[in-house]
Symmetry: C2
Subunit: 199 residues, 2 copies
Amino acid sequence: MARTGRPREFDKDKTLARAVELFWSRGYGATSVQDLVDALAVERGSLYGTFGDKRRFYLDAVRLYWDVYERHLVTALDTTPLLPALREILTHPARLDELISDVGAPHGCMVGNTTAELVPHDAEATEVVTRSYRRFTDLVADALRRAQSTGEVTDNAPPEAQAQLLLYLVQGLSLVSRAGLDRAAALSAIDTAIDALRA
Amino acid sequence: MARTGRPREFDKDKTLARAVELFWSRGYGATSVQDLVDALAVERGSLYGTFGDKRRFYLDAVRLYWDVYERHLVTALDTTPLLPALREILTHPARLDELISDVGAPHGCMVGNTTAELVPHDAEATEVVTRSYRRFTDLVADALRRAQSTGEVTDNAPPEAQAQLLLYLVQGLSLVSRAGLDRAAALSAIDTAIDALRA
DNA sequence: TGACTTCTTGAACGCTCTGTCAAGAAGTTG
DNA sequence: CAACTTCTTGACAGAGCGTTCAAGAAGTCA
């Protein structure tokens, strides 16, 4: 049974990564298939043949976005002391350097954007988003638990609550930043939050 | 100069208020004019004649949403002690009772949703959103300043920074809640934040 | 009543959208 | 080379979109 045929002319992974940028900056509804065809230099038929329909394509893009983000998160959280790393995580809500091609307005967090646009009426999107949030709080709570035991972070609140708070904070910051970032005000708010975590 | 003519058969204000609900739950792009015609029981032509095009209609709805929210906010902030009021503001990010018809999934904050969908590429939406955020931080900072002077709230951070933090928090909470609210986790995170403000 | 103004109705227009498909191109395999 | 498989291309269909508009209805005013 022959499994060969004409080879694909574009790189599937790279194309998905570029689709992340597009979907990330414009959202699901405002990105048309024609936009994708133009930006990715791949014809409609090939796009449909490779990635399925637009919704599936988008959800795959979100999953890739999150995977990249999670790798950065894990790396950042595995440092001592922890608080500077948390500050970094909060300070750059749009710092996925691997996916950012060049400068431009911040697009916020793609998971957050997906939440606003597709959740809760799209069940699959809701699942992706929920799992991402859960991963974030689990990873951050683990790190905070360790930091509480070393005495770096205050233990007057459970690490799970602190992690949940940081999720709200980073999502809020990432969203509000779309409307224009007052760097000084944002930094001063972040420092206030980080200080509150200090033992 | 006669200014009369056939009187409008529907209540403009009530119709706008009902449009808020629709736009709020589905967003701008996912709410079609036909959806509005069906839900509001007003024909297309009348809608266009009264509210202008869809975008103008939506922006008016956002402005109404915010006006109602701000009234609630001002009332809540004008209480002593302040911290329980702040807790209330954070606890119910979707508590605009006047506009909520009945139960249903939370839609988050309509200003936040607008930010995710239309900002920054829509200049007018960006202006509405920016002004709303600014009003929120101004009002909350004023209240915090008073509460700092009475000794209720800690003064180890400027009230502006605390207010900015609360904006991020309420927006993050409101957004993440769309994906399903774990009430216990959310409340514990909010209490952690409120405790951090206590003097 | 007749002139005037505004609102209502729903058909229709032009456009864009997602998704499909047939024909051809480009490989592999025997 | 011939058979087979997969990918590419771009036209196409079908649906839905926002918006306009002409004709009629319902008021006011002189």
